[in-house]
């Protein structure tokens, strides 16, 4: 399976999923004009990959994934799709893979910090919150 890379724009985030290093990154601003079109392709790719991984249940426990969210802004429409991405990775977390989720924010008053807390609460996954210097 090929890596996934989408260039960021002024209104849509950078998406990078490096299959070899098992690192998924979403960074920048997420308020794409057509949120469905933008995230559907991302979710489709990740879903295909996760399904492939799930076929080899015996090796899942040896896998380690890094999810990195370094966002400046998320609109409410994007939250739904970010949750769906997290939900896909949660499938392999529940099967024993290690999934580390790092959530960057600017300062404690930052809206993005609260957004991360909300998503972590909904998906019931622990996030590492890291203040961006």
């Amino acid at each position: 399976m090929e890596d996934l890379y989408i260039e960021p724009t002024e209104i849509s985030p950078k998406v990078k999923f490096d299959i070899k290093s098992k690192r998924f990154e979403l960074s920048g601003i997420s308020r794409p004009e057509d949120v469905v079109a933008f995230y559907d392709s991302v979710i489709f790719k990740i879903d295909s990959y996760i399904n492939q991984v799930l076929k080899n249940e015996s090796t899942i426990k040896n896998l380690s994934f890094d999810l990195v969210f370094d966002l400046n802004y998320i609109n409410s429409a994007s939250s739904k799709y970010i949750l769906q991405i997290l939900d896909l990775f949660k499938k392999i977390l529940l099967k024993g893979a290690k999934v580390k989720c790092t959530w960057y924010y600017e300062d404690i008053d930052d809206q993005i910090f609260e957004d991360g807390e909300d998503l972590s609460d909904v998906i019931k996954m622990e996030f590492d919150f890291v203040e961006r210097k």
């Binding site: 469905v36 609109n75 409410s76 939250s79 739904k80 008053d109 909300d118 609460d121 909904v122």
Partner: protein
């Protein structure tokens, strides 16, 4: 009567490019307003959510709008201790009840339960087919910790003008 200064005013059917332009315009104005980073971000979140709602909704009904309909208006006013964001756009008569009910539900929700309501709606959204999770208005109330003010003025038999007012406190 409290005095206010108009910081941003936009008239017309907003596009995504307009939203980006208005964020940049507000960022420029904010430099002279001596506001904290946190307040600036709150206002920007409200600006985006309100205008994106207006954009998606008016786009969905654009073909049905009469030619003489009042054009949408968006403005940011600087009040003594707050910023007031006002949006006016047309709404179909048949959509008014649902929207009013939604706003009443949010306004009747105790501040401490707004987060709960927001998370509940986000969870529901994960497994439904709707494009948007429908949490925009709850998010606005949760961020600003203020009641949402709205009013509807009859335009003709099918349409009304929907006025939304969101207050963001300076402290």
């Amino acid at each position: 009567m409290s005095s206010s200064t108009n910081i941003i005013e936009f008239k017309g059917f907003v596009s995504h490019n307009d939203i980006t332009r208005l964020i940049n315009e507000f960022a420029k104005s904010a430099e002279n307003l001596n506001i904290t980073n946190s307040l600036f971000k709150k206002i920007v979140v409200v600006l985006i959510e309100v205008l994106e709602n207006s954009f998606h909704y008016t786009n969905s009904i654009k073909k049905e709008l009469p030619e003489n309909i009042d054009i949408p208006i968006f403005s940011i006013l600087k009040m003594k201790n707050s910023f007031k964001l006002i949006s006016i756009n047309p709404i179909k008569k048949e959509h008014v009840n649902l929207l009013s009910q939604r706003i009443s539900e949010i306004n009747n929700c105790e501040k401490i339960f707004l987060k709960e309501l927001y998370l509940k709606k986000l969870i529901e959204s994960m497994n439904n087919d709707k494009i948007s999770p429908g949490v925009g208005l709850i998010r606005l109330a949760k961020i600003t910790q203020n009641k949402i003010k709205c009013s509807f003025n009859q335009f003709d038999n099918k349409f009304l003008n929907y006025r939304l007012e969101i207050l963001v406190n300076c402290k």
